[in-house]
């Protein structure tokens, strides 16, 4: 898919074939457009998306925190409300017993008929009472009203009796007792005027309590039940088993307040557990109210919101990346086209400079050859004169001398043309071992006459330790030709031009061309390698000599620098690698292989 988009975006720089790369490479300002393009997309994308992602993460965490605390708050509220109901349930029944012992005379209470009547009234008022009994301080049941025959039963060793001796009221854990029916015992203690005491005890069915609890249960993901303080279930739990089973959750530590915590149960479900220790007005109870809410079930809204946020962020990221990619491609394409146009102009100028060099060569050759030709012409003419005018040619030494003179002039022409052929042939050859000294002299041949006429002092110093360098001789000649021409134009008659070579480590050679001519102001030094920059009069300089020289040096994997002081002279330093091949391996495109 990414390839499809890329192909639609048209990366213009990939259209460059190897020939064009070789031709334009040295003149392109940027070499790796793919890198610029990728870097542009990355930096712009990072700048645009990073704030978005940071804000989204912060917002996400904020919402999550508030959702969590909302869940805890809701669970706490439900726990608290249910606790009030359970407490009220127990208080109401304890108060009824307390009222009964306070208001009904002891003798009435111990009379079974009267006690049965009281039980019927209490059942009518509150419901859920199974039986009622009066037990004296020795633990003997004095009176009993209810479905069983328990009168005279001894409770002195029963845990509830022992516990109730010390307290005014008592609420038992849920137990099955003699009848194997889960129930709770509640009891109140009353002291008589003779100092002895008795207990009024009632058995409550828990059905009514369970009904009350389940009426507070909200939704599929909530569970509401009672445990005792050792963690045993006192009412059935939907999630964690039946009555009397051990709750597979950590039993909460005592707290007088309602609490809610986030935790994980044995099935690794995230839950919010609310708990409250139930206390009646006059006594503690063994009950702990537990409210469990499964977090996943409550998260529906939050999950939908999360999905919306993800979609939104994903859409934003995609849009930003698409827009940035299109913009970057467009900008880099434009940059590339501008750079390519510049490079094409430079390459064209290099060609025209080559033509100019050939033109200059021709002019030099014409001058050099014209002199011997003039001599040939005059000598031959003189011989003809001798024949025509003087008529004395036999055994004439002057004649022989003049013919020698002709031969010598022809030889001179031959030498010039062979040098010329040698020079032009070198343009065709690419990489080869080049003797620097010979190359410099080859170039200077065309300047020697001018130097003589202008009384210029030319000196060349290439020490013996300078090795042959592997490079393109034609291009090196063109570089030297351009720099020497430049120097000749900069110096007045009688000045001097010095060309010398030095080694730069084992891999590089410096060619230093310095003159003591007019020099350049410092502000121009930065611009001289820019195309079309010239200090010469209009029409005299093209402003292309040095930029082309620069391009050629780059093509040979070298570098060029300049130092100049006004009225003191200029020095150009060309640094070239001894072995162009080494560079070529790593940078095949710029050389063109």
């Amino acid at each position: 898919m990414s390839y499809g988009i890329l192909s639609k975006l048209k990366l213009a720089w990939t259209e460059l074939d190897n020939d064009q790369k070789e031709q334009l490479g040295p003149y392109l300002t940027f070499t790796d457009y793919r890198e610029i393009w990728a870097m542009g997309i990355f930096l712009l994308g990072a700048t645009a998306l990073l704030p978005l992602l940071i804000v989204t993460i912060i917002h996400y965490q904020l919402i999550q925190t508030s959702v969590n605390s909302e869940f805890i708050l809701r669970t706490e509220r439900l726990t608290s409300n249910t606790r009030r109901v359970v407490t009220f349930f127990l208080d109401e029944r304890l108060d009824a017993l307390r009222f009964t012992v306070n208001e009904i005379p002891y003798n009435d209470l111990t009379a079974s008929d009267r006690l049965s009547e009281i039980l019927s009234n209490l059942k009518l008022g509150f419901g859920g009472l199974t039986d009622l009994s009066v037990i004296d301080h020795k633990g003997t049941q004095l009176a009993y009203a209810g479905p069983f025959k328990l009168k005279g039963k001894d409770y002195s060793r029963q845990p509830w009796f022992i516990a109730n001796q010390k307290k005014d009221s008592y609420v038992s854990p849920i137990f099955k007792g003699y009848r194997n029916v889960p129930h709770i015992i509640i009891a109140v203690k009353s002291v008589r005027s003779d100092g002895t005491w008795f207990i009024l005890r009632a058995t409550l069915e828990i059905k009514k309590l369970m009904q009350t609890l389940s009426s507070y249960k909200t939704g599929r993901y909530a569970d509401l039940f009672l445990i005792d303080r050792s963690g045993v279930l006192q009412t059935p739990s939907e999630f964690y088993g039946d009555i009397y089973q051990k709750l597979p959750l950590e039993t909460p530590k005592y707290s007088s307040r309602t609490q809610a915590v986030m935790t994980t149960d044995a099935q690794e479900r995230h839950i919010i557990m609310g708990y409250a220790f139930i206390s009646a007005k006059t006594t503690d109870t063994p009950f702990v109210l537990i409210v469990v809410k499964q977090k996943d079930g409550m998260m529906g809204v939050w999950r939908r919101m999360q999905a919306n946020i993800k979609w939104f962020v994903g859409f934003c990221i995609l849009t930003v990346i698409i827009v940035i990619t299109i913009a970057c491609t467009n900008i880099v394409n434009r940059l590339y086209h501008a750079d390519k146009a510049k490079a094409e102009t430079m390459a064209l100028m290099e060609q025209s400079c080559q033509l100019a060099a050939i033109g200059q060569l021709s002019a030099g050759v014409a001058h050099e050859i014209n002199n011997p030709l003039a001599l040939i012409s005059q000598t031959a003419g003189y011989i003809k004169d001798l024949f025509v005018i003087k008529e004395q040619y036999r055994n004439d030494e002057e004649l022989i001398e003049n013919i020698d003179s002709i031969m010598e002039a022809v030889d001179r022409c031959g030498r010039i043309t062979s040098q010329l052929l040698g020079f032009s042939r070198k343009f065709d050859i690419k990489t080869q071992n080049v003797n620097l000294k010979e190359t410099i002299f080859d170039v200077l041949v065309f300047h020697q006459k001018e130097a003589q006429y202008r009384n210029l002092n030319l000196s060349v110093d290439v020490p013996e330790d300078i090795p042959d360098i592997e490079t393109d001789q034609g291009k090196l000649q063109q570089i030297l030709m351009n720099l020497v021409n430049n120097a000749f134009q900069a110096i007045d008659d009688g000045c001097s031009l010095d060309i010398h070579a030095t080694r730069e480590g084992s891999d590089f050679v410096n060619i230093v061309i310095s003159d003591n001519g007019c020099g350049m102001p410092e502000e121009n030094l930065d611009k001289i390698f820019e195309p079309f920059f010239t200090t010469k009069a209009r029409g005299e300089g093209t402003g292309l000599g040095l930029p082309i020289t620069y391009g050629l040096v780059k093509k040979l994997n070298g570098s060029i620098s300049v130092k100049s002081k006004e009225n003191e002279g200029t020095t150009f330093i060309v640094t070239l690698p001894v072995r162009i091949q080494k560079e070529k391996d790593g940078n095949e495109n710029s050389i063109g292989g």
Partner: protein
């Protein structure tokens, strides 16, 4: 008619001088500008044939110096450098121009024209 020939190409100067002498033209030849100025101090010349590019005093400078002492002298430049620039420089100052290699007939014709 007396002619002064100045050219640093010594054999050329000698040959041309001999050819002119064969045609009964009185010609002195020297190889440098300095020698030419010395000759001019002691002789009166009608025409000076000057090479343009010479070491030391070049043809153009020599022309100026000769004109100072011999205001009537006619100047003809001879050059192997077929450059328009040199030609224009010569013509503009009222000088003639012949390019090397030159035909003797051309030179004779020009000298005829310059004859006082």
């Amino acid at each position: 008619m007396k002619i002064l020939l100045v050219d640093d190409e010594q054999k050329f100067a000698m040959m041309l001088a001999k050819r002119l002498a064969l045609r009964n033209i009185d010609v002195d030849y020297v190889y440098t500008g300095e020698e030419a100025l010395q000759k001019a101090q002691n002789n009166r010349y009608d025409v000076a044939l000057l090479d343009v590019k010479m070491p030391g005093i070049g043809g153009i400078e020599l022309k100026g110096k000769l004109k100072e002492t011999h205001p009537d002298i006619k100047i003809v430049f001879l050059t192997g450098h077929g450059s328009k620039k040199d030609f224009e420089a010569g013509i503009s100052e009222g000088a003639e121009y012949l390019s090397k290699p030159l035909q003797i007939e051309e030179l004779l014709e020009l000298l005829q024209r310059l004859k006082p």
